[in-house]
Symmetry: C2
Subunit: 250 residues, 2 copies
């Protein structure tokens, strides 16, 4: 078992670099933090490459970490690597999942340029709960492996396939298979409750400020909106995603 | 027009005290920050007592502030009062709204001990959008005038009546009027979609960790849950509120 005492150790420096998207993309690895996320990641094989544990922390026996390389670190080293104010004392170095888009998916969420990490994480958690078969992240969407995305997904990033792709191109795949594609738009749409729940659909959720890209909205089968009955100007995009996903699914 | 240059000015000290719940309760006043919130507050009479504006900021002509006492402050004073990292330069001292519970409400949201200010604000915004008649905050709920609640409500705290009360006592009012009262519970409930949308109902949303209080759940007409189809352990409470409110309303 390795043990690291110095924050200047090259491995520590390398781990800290993973706080940047650039380094995550270059190495195809990312960090997760805390017992719950580690537990969720352990349920899948080949996700965790290495466990980094603070020496004053004991790993619960329920976590099966026998075959995973373990590095003990001092409290100060843990603090240096951690992105939280009160580290739980356990971090895992993970391999990026390599999901490609799958034509067999029937209930799909397309995400077009969501910017806020908390929103993306919450939407992934909600799509997981609603039983989506897969999620596709379009260009301009915040990095999936941003620590705030992972944290607010509460482990759901490990529960369903999430791929990246050109939404405009992928949209045609579903149109050819006669799976309805629903955009979301405040203008020129129809109230979401007019759509009957169904076993297969694509829902497109858009950017917090500008909504779904116009080129996409032109190619959808229908564009939906959630009626506003009171005086609020809009709904939070995560709330909107939840209302639509739970309405649309059968 | 007053002008304040020193962060040690007694008025500045008094405004800063309003960051605490104790002072807000003692004075029945609170602060709001930023142009959007001020605009929403101005739509109601008698809400804003005083405007505090940074001297390098110009107030848009669209904001009708003619009859409101105005105090100019330096950038440093604004920074001292502000609770945000990048102050917009406008803060309003507001009177607490004094809504009492109204028996004539037909669509009501009861909030039982929501702890996170962001969750409470988002839920208020969603209840506004869904056209609720009123909200009652039960004991143990985070302070309505916490700045994070106000910010995430996006002004909806000024759009619908929000009162405080003992939920257990108020619940009987609706039962006597034959308005159905729905709790939310992961155990012993029924799937939310089994309930037909209607013109009048009470929905009770509970604490992030422990859910709705047991004594309340025993007195409801029915307790609902949102089915989890995937592997997520739960939904975020704000998302759950959105799904339920938009399903239940007619």
């Amino acid at each position: 078992m390795n043990r690291i005492e110095s924050v200047k150790n090259p491995k520590v420096k390398q781990w800290k670099k993973l706080h940047t998207k650039k380094e995550r993309e270059a190495t195809k690895t990312f960090l997760i933090e805390g017992f719950h996320l580690v537990e969720e990641a352990l349920k899948k094989e080949e996700v965790i490459k290495e466990l980094i544990v603070s020496e004053e922390v004991s790993i619960p026996a329920s976590l099966n970490v026998d075959n995973i390389p373990l590095t003990l670190v001092t409290k100060d080293v843990m603090k240096a690597i951690s992105e939280t104010e009160a580290p739980q004392g356990v971090i895992a170095l993970c391999r990026e999942q390599d999901y490609s888009f799958d034509e067999s998916w029937k209930k799909i969420l397309f995400i077009d340029a969501i910017q806020d990490p908390g929103n993306l994480g919450t939407i992934i958690r909600t799509a997981d709960a609603a039983g989506m078969d897969g999620i596709v992240l379009g260009e301009g969407t915040v990095d999936l492996y941003n620590s705030k995305v992972i944290r607010s997904s509460q482990g759901s990033i490990f529960h369903l396939p999430i791929s990246k792709g050109n939404l405009l191109e992928l949209l045609h795949v579903y149109k050819e298979r006669n799976i309805p594609v629903y955009g979301t738009s405040l203008q020129n749409g129809q109230p979401h409750k007019e759509i009957e729940p169904a076993d297969s659909f694509v829902l497109i959720i858009g950017n917090e400020g500008s909504g779904v890209d116009k080129d996409l909205l032109e190619k959808t089968d229908k564009n939906l909106y959630i009626p506003i009955y009171g005086s609020a100007e809009s709904l939070n995009v995560g709330i909107a995603a939840g209302i639509l996903l739970y309405h649309l699914r059968g």
